[in-house]
C-alpha cells in the first residue's frame, strides 16, 4: 500500500504486509544506490505487526516508479547471483572430479589434493556468465 500526497508524487511511504528486514533492508540498499533517491529508509512500526514501512523521497521522479525500479533491479541482481552461483558449483564439481582422476593416476594422494585445493582457492573464478 502506498501512502503519499496527491500534489507531490516524489515522496511516499510504502507499507508492505507480510515482509520484514529481509526484503526491506535489501530494497533500502538498492534504493540508496539510485541517484534519483534523496532519502530512503525503512521501519518496522511494531515487532508484533507483520509489516514494514519503506519511506522513499526522490529528487523529482514519482516515488512509486523509483521504488518499482529498485525492486526490478533487485530481481536482476538475484538472477545474476543465482546464475553465477550455479556456474561456480558446476566449476567446483568438475575441478573435484578432475582431481579425483589425478589422484587415481598419481598415487601421491594427499600432497596433490592440498596443492590443487590451494591453487583453486587462490586462482580467480573461472567463468562468469552474465546471463541467467
Amino acid at each position: 500500500m502506498e501512502h503519499g500526497s496527491l500534489e507531490d508524487s516524489s515522496a511516499s511511504t510504502f507499507s508492505i504486509a507480510e515482509e520484514d528486514h529481509t526484503l526491506a533492508n535489501s530494497v533500502r540498499f538498492v534504493l540508496n544506490q539510485d541517484p534519483r533517491v534523496a532519502f530512503c529508509g525503512y521501519s518496522i512500526p511494531h515487532p508484533a505487526d507483520n509489516k514494514v514501512n519503506i519511506r522513499v523521497q526522490t529528487t523529482g521522479d514519482p516515488a512509486k516508479d523509483v521504488f518499482k525500479d529498485a525492486l526490478q533491479d533487485l530481481i536482476v541482481m538475484c538472477q545474476h547471483v543465482r546464475g553465477t552461483f550455479d556456474n561456480a558449483v558446476v566449476d567446483h564439481r568438475s575441478n573435484i572430479s578432475a582431481q579425483q582422476m589425478d589422484i587415481d593416476s598419481n598415487s601421491q594422494g594427499c600432497g596433490t589434493i592440498s596443492k590443487r585445493l590451494y591453487q583453486m582457492l587462490t586462482s580467480a573464478p573461472h567463468s562468469i556468465d552474465k546471463t541467467n
Binding site: H21, P35, L74
Partner: protein, 368 residues
C-alpha cells in the same frame, strides 16, 4: 580511523577500476572495516560519499554484474562453504535470513497418539518427533491450510509402533523405527463405516505415494533417539508431516545453521622482526602468522593464513597493537550453509535467492 603512513597492504584487486583513485586511507574506509583493539570502525557507504573527489561509490546493476564473483570452497552432501564477492551485506543477510526462516521443508506437525506408556510425556515426545529431519523434497509438496483434507500431495504419514517386552532389557526407540505409510493413515475415524464402504481414516489419499515419488520418503537419520522404553512399556502412534517454513517453527528450518563472515585481512603497518615476531606468532590462537627466516639469524613475521583469523584481536592488543592492523573486507563474504538433509546446500541457496526474487515480484504486482 586508520592512520596515514606506510602500509604494506595488498592492493584491493576486486575493486572497480576508477580513473580517479581515492587516497589509500579513504579507500580503506570505503572497502574495509578496521578492527581496533576496542571496537571496529565504520566507514561510509552511501552512493555519493566520495562524490566531491569524483569517485562514484554507487552500485548499479551493471557494475554489480561485472564485479560479482562466487567461489566454492567446500561442497559435500549436507554442508558447503563458498566465497561471495562484490555484494552488499544487506543482500547477503537477506539470503541468510531466507535460508533460516523462509525456505520450506517437510516436518512432523500432527501426532495421533494411540498408546504411550513410556515415561516421556505425550507433548515432549511429540516435540521430539517434530524435530526429526525427513528425507523428502519439499518442492514436490503443497502447503496444507487449516480446512484442507490431508492428501498424498500435502501430507506424509508415518507409523511408530514399538514395545518393550516384560523381562527384556530397556529398549531405545530410534528415528529409524518410524515406518512410512505411502497409502496414508491407518487409523479409522471415530464412526465405523457402513459395510462395504472403505473405512475412513485421518487422511484421504487418492493414490499411493509410492507411485508419485521416486524414492521412499524416510527419515534422514535413522539413529536419532526418540525415547527409551522400560519392560512392559509401549508407544503406538501415527504422525503427519506437512510443509512449512522456519519462521513458523524452527523444525521447518532447512539449515542447521547458515552464516557468513567477512574476509579477514591482516596487514602489518611496519615490519615485525625477531623476538617481537616470535611473540606475535605465539600470541595468535589460530596460527595466522608464520616466521620467515631472512638469513644471518634475522627473522620476520609474515601473514600466512589470514582466512583462519577469527578476529579475536589478540594481535592488536598489547605491544604489537600499533604495528598490526586487522581488517575485514566489506564486500567479501565467506558463506557457510549446513543443511539438515532435506535438500543439498547448493539447492537451498538457489531456492533462497529465488525466494527473494518472488518477494520482489509480489510487491511489484501489489503496487501496480
Amino acid at each position: 580511523m586508520p592512520k596515514k603512513g606506510t602500509k604494506k597492504g595488498k592492493s584491493a584487486d576486486d575493486e572497480p577500476k576508477e580513473q580517479n583513485k581515492l587516497p589509500e586511507h579513504l579507500e580503506v574506509q570505503r572497502t574495509r572495516v578496521v578492527c581496533k583493539a576496542d571496537a571496529p570502525t565504520e566507514g561510509f557507504q552511501y552512493a555519493g560519499a566520495f562524490a566531491a573527489m569524483g569517485i562514484d561509490n554507487s552500485v548499479s546493476v551493471d557494475k554489480f554484474c561485472k564485479n560479482f564473483k562466487v567461489m566454492v570452497n567446500r561442497l559435500t552432501e549436507d554442508d558447503m562453504e563458498f566465497d561471495m564477492i562484490g555484494i552488499d551485506a544487506s543482500i547477503a543477510n537477506a539470503f541468510r535470513r531466507i535460508l533460516i526462516a523462509e525456505v520450506p521443508t517437510m516436518a512432523i506437525e500432527k501426532v495421533l497418539m494411540v498408546d504411550n506408556t513410556s515415561v516421556i510425556a505425550d507433548e515432549v515426545l511429540s516435540h521430539r518427533l517434530g524435530l526429526i529431519p525427513l528425507d523428502a523434497d519439499p518442492r514436490l509438496f503443497e502447503y496444507i491450510s487449516e480446512n484442507d483434507v490431508p492428501n498424498e500431495r500435502n501430507t506424509i504419514v508415518y507409523k511408530l509402533h514399538v514395545s518393550c517386552k516384560r523381562g527384556s532389557p530397556r529398549l531405545t526407540v530410534k528415528s529409524g523405527d518410524l515406518e512410512w505409510l505411502p497409502e496414508g493413515s491407518q487409523l479409522p475415524l471415530a464412526s465405523p463405516a457402513q459395510s462395504g464402504d472403505k473405512q475412513k481414516t485421518y487422511t484421504s489419499f487418492g493414490q499411493s505415494q509410492k507411485d508419485i515419488f521416486e524414492k521412499p520418503l524416510g527419515v534422514k537419520f535413522k539413529d536419532i533417539t526418540i525415547a527409551r522404553l522400560g519392560p512392559g512399556q509401549a508407544i503406538e502412534l501415527e504422525v503427519h508431516a506437512v510443509k512449512g517454513v522456519g519462521k513458523v517453527h524452527a523444525k521447518w528450518s532447512p539449515v542447521a545453521t547458515a552464516w557468513y563472515r567477512m574476509l579477514p585481512e591482516v596487514v602489518f603497518r611496519e615490519e615485525i622482526r625477531d623476538d617481537a615476531a616470535e611473540k606475535l606468532v605465539k600470541k595468535c590462537p589460530v596460527n595466522v602468522f608464520d616466521i620467515e627466516d631472512l638469513g644471518n639469524g634475522e627473522k620476520r613475521a609474515v601473514v600466512a593464513r589470514p582466512r583462519a583469523c577469527t578476529l579475536c584481536r589478540e594481535c592488536v592488543m598489547g605491544p604489537t597493537g600499533e604495528q598490526v592492523e586487522l581488517r575485514r573486507v566489506r564486500d567479501h563474504f565467506i558463506f557457510t550453509i549446513e543443511s539438515t538433509g532435506a535438500l543439498p546446500p547448493e539447492v537451498l541457496f538457489t531456492e533462497a535467492v529465488r525466494n527473494l526474487e518472488e518477494k520482489c515480484e509480489r510487491v511489484i504486482s501489489e503496487l501496480s
